[in-house]
């Protein structure tokens, strides 16, 4: 570096002209800086790059031409050459001194080219490669630094562009879901993107180690791929050819393969290979097609067996399964019954189906049974692992490799199970399962519909049988009371054909013109919307009348009155029977009482001793005979009484009854007995009047009192209490006797039911007293019951409503009764 004159001050003049020319003509930016930091020289390239005139820089010490922070960084980098570091607090001057020192000491060859950024006058920055070297005079004394800078803007941008472009392509290839490869004309992989690993499980290196690219494919389609490759080499590119490639783990990959040649001067350089996995897409298409086919089958509304068989066929064919069997659930027996099946047209599947026909399975150890029990799909990839199942064993014998069973469910219930077998070993495949389960759902809907239909048919048939079989006439009526339907009995009762009845007003049929007044209840009822039951005289079409009983039931659909049903029957026979029974009872009563009167009278006179003295044994026997004849008389009286109250409509009178009088009369009646037994009778003085039969109510109370006295110990008391309530009156008879066992509180009111079977003999009861009481109270619309007292004894209570509610009830009356019962 001899162009620096020893003595001269730093100025452009001091540079030797010939060197200066070289420096100024250089394309690189060159700055010469003195050891004190003064700019000594700036060449035109530096002027251009930095945007300063040389005159603005030369002689200056403070101009910063490096980008902010770069001065410190570059200095640090240079100082590292000497193994020293810079004080972070050092100013530009100290930094410069240190840098000059370093450059001066280090061999020029060791000073590296530094990448940095320079700052233009306008503040913008640009990349620069800087080489710094020492400027020495002739004596070798260091006079300053020469800084040569090469503008890197253009170079860097180009590099980056190239890098980015490469990155983009790499990114595209590496992340592509399509398999991309470059193949040599010999068929080896030159490049393979990672997508290959996803479909084939082998990365680029493994692929490139393969001798031939077609070897990655399954042998089933390898020859076809080879053929396509050969054609591509010959210039016949293949575009998205479908390749079905079974995988080792039992899946079927559907691939689209495109191959084309890259050539130079007519010679093939490489083969471009694009391979796309369209399995999912194809599956979706298959599933749609399957659904469509299944929907069509369903829509044809063929029989269940036919439709199901075709559904199985479609499913098996599209999925390439070999055998499908439909098992229907027989809920009554909790078992599966063979319904139908489809098998690939070959002997093995046919034979397997023949073995299935008529089979019933309940075993949860079997494939289909397992799916039923678990309520979800059971998949056996390798049948030999489940060979204990006899059906699986049979499937294996028939050459099947995999099997699975899918429950057909509607809501929460499994209606059927689909069982499939395949000769290929298939692993559980979500797509295939989704298809099969969708089909199962459709099949389930169809099964449910058919079953519902079957049930409805059964029901209709049952109803028809019932309607035809009943003896009661049943007519369906429209809202206007006109007959829409009449069963055979209705036609028979009316003496007309069912068709001649239909369309006519039911009232006109039962009560032909002039037979009833304007206020006929039947007319009102059949024109109304309230339920009703009653009796009326009805007429046949020939004019003959018969006593009839009818029930009218309105039908409400979603709250709207939509019509009604009138049932009616001829009760002439019942009338006749009632008459016969009445006569029989009267006669029986008389016929039984007459001989008993003689026996009772004769025994009474004999035992009185008035006819002569009878010895003690004779007297005993007479007493026994007398007691028993009296018992028979009571029994006959009670039986006739009970029959009469129960079945005779006029057995109960309905008159105003003062209950206080009833209590009074009953107590007076039993007072002598109570006195004899040493029992005190207590009663309250409540006044209440109801509608009923005073004699019968007295009978009830007398009976309860007599019982209470009979079963009470001496010196105890029996009380009669009356309580007036909203709905009626409750009368209670409370004793301090031995009590009724809890279990008998209800049954004690049944006929011939007593707490102790010996009671009737010991206490002289007939076993009918409480049954009579219950019947009488019921005839008053009331209720009788017994309760155990907390301490001892029993309370018999009977409730009587203010007014007896008629059996032929009006809705208000029903409501009233319900209210009473609630109370």
């Amino acid at each position: 570096m001899a162009f620096w004159k020893k003595e001269e001050r730093t100025s452009r003049k001091s540079v030797e002209p010939e060197f200066r020319e070289i420096v100024d003509s250089a394309g690189s930016m060159i700055l010469v800086i003195g050891t004190d930091g003064t700019v000594l020289h700036v060449n035109p390239a530096a002027e251009r790059l930095l945007g300063y005139y040389a005159s603005e820089l030369v002689g200056q010490q403070t101009v910063e031409i490096l980008a902010p922070g770069e001065g410190r960084r570059v200095a640090a980098e240079l100082l590292r050459l000497r193994g020293s570091s810079i004080d972070p607090n050092a100013g530009p001057r100290e930094r410069r001194t240190a840098v000059v020192g370093t450059i001066g000491e280090v061999a020029p060859s060791l000073v590296p080219t530094i990448e940095t950024r320079c700052r233009r006058k306008d503040g913008s920055t640009f990349p620069v490669m800087v080489q710094v070297s020492a400027l020495r005079d002739a004596e070798g004394t260091m006079r300053g630094l020469v800084m040569v800078g090469l503008d890197q803007s253009a170079t860097l941008e180009q590099q980056q562009a190239t890098r980015e472009s490469q990155e983009r392509y790499r990114d595209l290839f590496e992340n592509s879901s399509e398999m991309i490869a470059t193949l040599s004309p010999g068929g080896q992989f030159l490049y393979a993107n990672p997508a290959w690993k996803r479909s084939f499980g082998r990365d680029a290196e493994e692929l490139m180690a393969d001798s031939f690219f077609a070897d990655v494919f399954h042998e089933e389609c390898r020859a076809y791929v080879k053929e396509l490759f050969r054609e591509a080499l010959d210039g016949h590119a293949s575009d998205r050819m479908l390749v079905r490639n079974p995988t080792k783990d039992g899946r079927m990959l559907e691939l689209e393969l495109s191959l084309s040649r890259r050539q130079k001067a007519g010679n093939p350089l490489a083969v471009r290979c694009l391979l796309r996995d369209v399995t999912q897409q194809k599956n979706r298409e298959h599933r749609l097609a399957l659904q469509l086919a299944v929907s069509q089958i369903m829509a044809e509304n063929a029989g269940l067996a036919t439709a199901a068989e075709r559904v199985l066929e479609v499913l098996c064919v599209t999925q390439e399964w070999d055998l499908g069997v439909l098992w229907e659930v027989d809920a009554a027996w909790d078992r599966l019954v063979f319904s139908t099946a489809w098998g690939a047209p070959e002997l093995a599947a046919e034979s397997m189906i023949r073995q299935s026909v008529g089979l019933q399975t309940v075993a949860t150890s079997e494939l289909a049974g397992k799916a039923l029990a678990k309520g979800r799909t059971v998949w056996i990839r390798d049948l030999t692992e489940a060979a204990a199942d006899p059906r699986v064993a049979a499937a294996i014998r028939h050459g099947m490799a995999s099997g699975w069973a899918i429950p057909v469910r509607v809501g929460n219930s499994v209606l059927a199970v689909l069982e499939f077998y395949c000769r290929r070993q298939l692993r559980e495949d979500e797509e295939a399962l989704a298809s099969a389960e969708a089909v199962a759902a459709s099949l389930g809907q169809m099964l449910a519909r058919k079953r519902e239909q079957g049930r409805a048919d059964d029901l209709t048939q049952q109803q028809e049988v019932l309607l035809n079989a009943v003896a009661d006439g049943i007519c369906g009526l429209d809202r206007g009371g006109r007959v829409t339907f009449a069963n055979p009995a209705a036609a028979r009762l009316l003496g007309a054909s069912a068709s001649s009845i239909t369309g006519k007003a039911i009232h006109e049929l039962l009560h032909p013109a002039g037979r009833c007044g304007a206020e006929c209840p039947l007319r009102e009822i059949t024109a109304g919307t309230a339920p009703h039951a009653g009796e009326t005289t009805m007429a046949r079409s020939d004019g003959k009348e018969f006593p009839g009983e009818y029930g009218f039931t309105p039908i409400f659909e979603r709250g709207q009155f939509s019509g009604s049903v009138l049932s009616f029957r001829d009760i002439s026979q019942r009338y006749a029977l009632d008459r016969m029974k009445d006569e029989f009872l009267a006669t029986a009563g008389h016929e039984l009482r007459t001989p008993l009167t003689s026996i009772r009278g004769a025994l009474g006179l004999l035992s009185s001793g008035m006819l002569g003295e009878i010895n003690e044994k004779g007297n005993n026997l007479l007493r026994i005979a007398l007691n028993n004849s009296e018992r028979v008389i009571r029994l006959i009286n009670d039986m006739l009484d009970l029959e009469k109250i129960q079945h005779s409509s006029d057995a109960i009178e309905h008159m105003p009854v003062q209950l206080a009088d009833v209590v009074q009369v009953a107590i007076e009646g039993v007072q002598p007995v109570a006195d004899a037994a040493g029992i005190q009778l207590i009663h309250d003085m409540v006044q209440a009047e109801i509608f009923g039969d005073a004699d019968r109510l007295t009978q009830v109370l007398t009976n309860l009192l007599a019982n209470a006295i009979k079963f009470s110990p001496e010196k105890s008391s029996v009380s009669v209490m009356m309580r007036v309530e909203n709905a009626g009156v409750t009368i209670s008879v409370i004793d301090e006797g031995r009590g009724v066992p809890q279990a008998m509180l209800e049954t004690i009111f049944d006929r011939f039911r007593q707490v102790d079977a010996s009671d009737s003999r010991q206490k002289g009861g007939t076993g009918l007293g409480l049954a009579i009481c219950r019947t009488i109270v019921a005839q008053h619309g009331g209720r009788i019951w017994a309760e155990r007292n907390p301490m001892r004894g029993t309370t018999f209570r009977f409730f009587l409503p203010w007014r007896r509610v008629e059996r032929k009830m009006e809705p208000e009356a029903v409501a009233a009764i319900e209210k009473i019962e609630e109370n």
Binding site: A586, G589, H590, R593, T594, P595, L596, T597, S598, R600, G601, A602, G604, L605, S608, M610, L611, I633, N637, L640, D641, K644, D650, E653, D695
Partner: protein
């Protein structure tokens, strides 16, 4: 003078027991008839103080017999007590409404029968 009474009943045994009861327990004089027709005839000829008349008899029953007794001026004034096997109070009331002196039910206690009749007729016993 003991009371005298006519018993009309088709049943021989009942007639016998009733007669025995009235004779031995009450000491009355008793005549009997085994049918309504015979009863009317004997009532007319014997002119008893009272008649004990069974209701349910074949042919001429108690009601018809009573009607016949009422129609005959020679027997119309004789009080009649009916004896019935029907114990229902409503039936007794129907019978009482015919105009008889009283209604008693079968079977009867032979020891209390005379008392019951006397009570109905207002006799001292």
């Amino acid at each position: 003078m003991p009371h005298n009474i006519l018993i009309i009943d088709d049943e021989d045994d009942i007639r016998a027991v009733a007669a025995l009861s009235l004779e031995t327990v009450a000491g009355w004089e008793v005549a009997t008839a085994n049918s309504g027709a015979q009863g009317v005839e004997r009532a007319e000829s014997l002119q008893p103080e009272a008649i004990l008349l069974d209701v349910m008899m074949p042919g001429m029953d108690g009601r018809a017999t009573f009607a016949a007794l009422q129609q005959n001026p020679r027997t119309a004034a004789i009080p009649v007590v009916l004896l019935t096997a029907k114990s229902q109070s409503s039936e007794r009331e129907q019978l009482a409404a015919l105009g008889v002196a009283g209604v008693l039910t079968k079977p009867f206690d032979p020891l209390t029968l005379p008392g019951a009749i006397a009570a109905v007729l207002g006799w001292d016993t």
